[in-house]
């Protein structure tokens, strides 16, 4: 339809011609022509109406083109960021390998020195996830922030476990993972409240009994408390949940009553 190409040319007349603009115009024309065909297949035969409808669906072509240019540039900088991250990681791994080899050759503790490599990489990943957590939480990307938090905590757990089990040969080192889950649950609640999540209270209600159960199991396995009657810790967590619910409901109803009273006072 000639009307479509005229509309594209007219709307983008103020932008300097270049390869990117030429490609954009070509892509647009293809999309709009396909849309026109679709409308005709649906039964719309009036070409003027088709043109007007499509123009309404593509209102700000110039702005859209400039946005795409901006996105491409930020895409390029994101690519550069990614490349620098990979380069940084490779350099870091190279230095780490040198340290590992130097240490191993000097001490001949090959059976333990591999920890330098493994834990070194884990440390890099922990720092990466913590940085990502900071940036995603700030941009209100809560699900990604949560995933980064849990990844960072579990990687820390692996770090500590390897040192505890391999280097220090501590008994029952596996309990570190249980502790890590409890810490992850508690940190998740803190994250929810610090990022003002609407339903953070539900995170809290789930966290209390689950972390209480884990803490009870860890302390019992470490024989710091006996299995009975300290299972009451878990029941107490459910009781705490119940109290939190009651407080939340009564706070909610008090707030609405207070506002009604304020309104009456203002009317008087």
């Amino acid at each position: 339809m000639t009307g479509l190409s005229d509309y594209i040319d007219k709307t983008l007349a103020g932008i300097k011609n270049n390869d990117a603009l030429y490609r954009y115009k070509g892509k647009l024309l293809g999309e709009m022509s396909a849309r026109a065909d679709e409308l005709q297949m649906r039964g719309l035969s009036d070409k003027k109406v088709i043109l007007d409808l499509i123009e309404q669906e593509y209102p700000n072509l110039a702005e859209d083109f400039l946005q795409r240019q901006k996105k491409q540039k930020s895409g390029k900088s994101a690519l550069l960021k990614g490349l620098s991250l990979i380069t940084g990681f490779l350099l870091y791994t190279f230095v780490l390998t040198l340290v590992y080899l130097a240490f191993s050759f000097i001490t001949e503790a090959w059976a333990l020195s591999w920890l330098i490599m493994v834990n070194g990489i884990i440390l890099f990943l922990v720092v990466y996830f913590l940085k990502l957590l900071g940036s995603t939480a700030g941009k209100h990307r809560y699900k990604t922030a949560r995933a980064c938090l849990i990844a960072a905590i579990m990687l820390c757990a692996v770090f500590v476990f390897l040192i505890s089990q391999v280097l220090l040969t501590v008994n029952k080192s596996y309990l570190i993972f249980l502790a890590a889950v409890a810490i992850a649950i508690i940190c998740d609640v803190i994250l929810a409240y610090s990022t003002n999540q609407k339903f953070a209270i539900f995170n809290l209600l789930i966290a209390l009994p689950s972390s209480a159960a884990l803490i009870y199991i860890i302390l019992s396995l470490l024989e710091l408390i006996s299995w009975h009657p300290y299972w009451l810790i878990i029941l107490n967590a459910f009781l705490a949940d119940f109290i939190i619910i009651i407080l939340a409901i009564s706070r909610n109803s008090k707030n609405s009553e207070k506002e009604e009273a304020d309104d009456l006072w203002k009317e008087n």
Partner: protein, 424 residues
Amino acid sequence: MERKLTAELWDKMHYMFRDFNDRMVHVELHYDFRIDADALKTVLICFLEKTPVLHSSFKDNHVNPYWKVEDYKIEDVLTVLEPDNLQKVIDDFLTQYIPPESNVQIKAALFYEGNKSVLCIVENHMCMDGGDLKYFLNALCSNYNDYTTQHKSPLALRSGSRSYTEVYSDLSPMDKKAAQKLYKNVSSRDSHKFPFSPESKEDKSFILRRRINSERFARIRAAGKKSGATVNDILVAAYIHSIYELANYSDNEGITVSCAVDLRRYIKDISSKGLTNHTAFMQCGTPRKGRNIVETLSYVVRSSEKSKQDKFMGLYGLPLLKLGYSIMPYAASEEVIKIGYSNPLLGMSNIGAIDGDALALSNKKPTDAFLTGAVKYKPYALLTATSYNNELSLSMCVRGNEEDKKIVNTFFDYMEKNFNELAK
């Protein structure tokens, strides 16, 4: 590439109502000339393109349901016929059911009879309520007129957010904060109902209509004004008083009717909002049957005044529904909400006056205009009231049998009797 639309809160609620009604909203407009079918097709296609939910299928995903935008042909939407038995064809068209999985959620029919036309529309309540359907019809007619007279493309239809949160958009920050904490469950617990026959597989959908002519309606309105009652109050009072008589309920029992409330009262500027549902229910009841219709009316006025004084009327329960849908996967939340939600057994929807000028096509106002709500499954009942040319239309849509038709007609007889007593 698959295009998806968000299933909004009220979309999901109306889908849940599939246990209580067929979700179809019905329109019947009569004109004294032959409508241009091609022009109507053009307008309808443009409107469907501007409101993609109208050509989408509902995907009942157990975690997160959504609308999938579908391809269609105008023949899927519009039927043009010159039938022999016009009334039967109209009835059959209006009582049809559009499944939510269909590629279109609105169907229109243009029936010709000599030099006259009847425009019928059936639309899925999940997409929009009576309030927005009235706007849709007005826009359809004005766009048709501009298209046929000035060849102006029929694109003047508002589009935008369909979210339930739009009702809060024009509230003050303090009111908004308070309204978003109204978790109270206000669904009706009244067990009074229509004395329909038991449900049976042979039940079929029917629409019954009773007209109150303009002279009588004017007398009823005047009588109501003397008592400080609105038309809505009069309708509710007659409804409740008639139910006592129809179902032989004890005079000492209180009856509550759930009245539809248009929440667009809270939105100052609707021009950037999409077509959707913004309807809640307000409970209106009487502590007992009045000694006469006038006394019942006084109870209803008192009840509705109390509701009107509440500046958040109709907004209760929305945050609770949102909470229900947010914290669990959809399949689980639907079951939980069904436990807490009580669908009203006695409902009323006062769609209000239909503006003949707004529905004029080629400078010709409709000779008759009628809108009515969804077909209810027994024991649920909804009385719909509209007025056109100062004539009041009462309608009920039920899935029932001949005995149920008699019951509804008897109910209408009681309504008329009560109106006459009021107008004395």
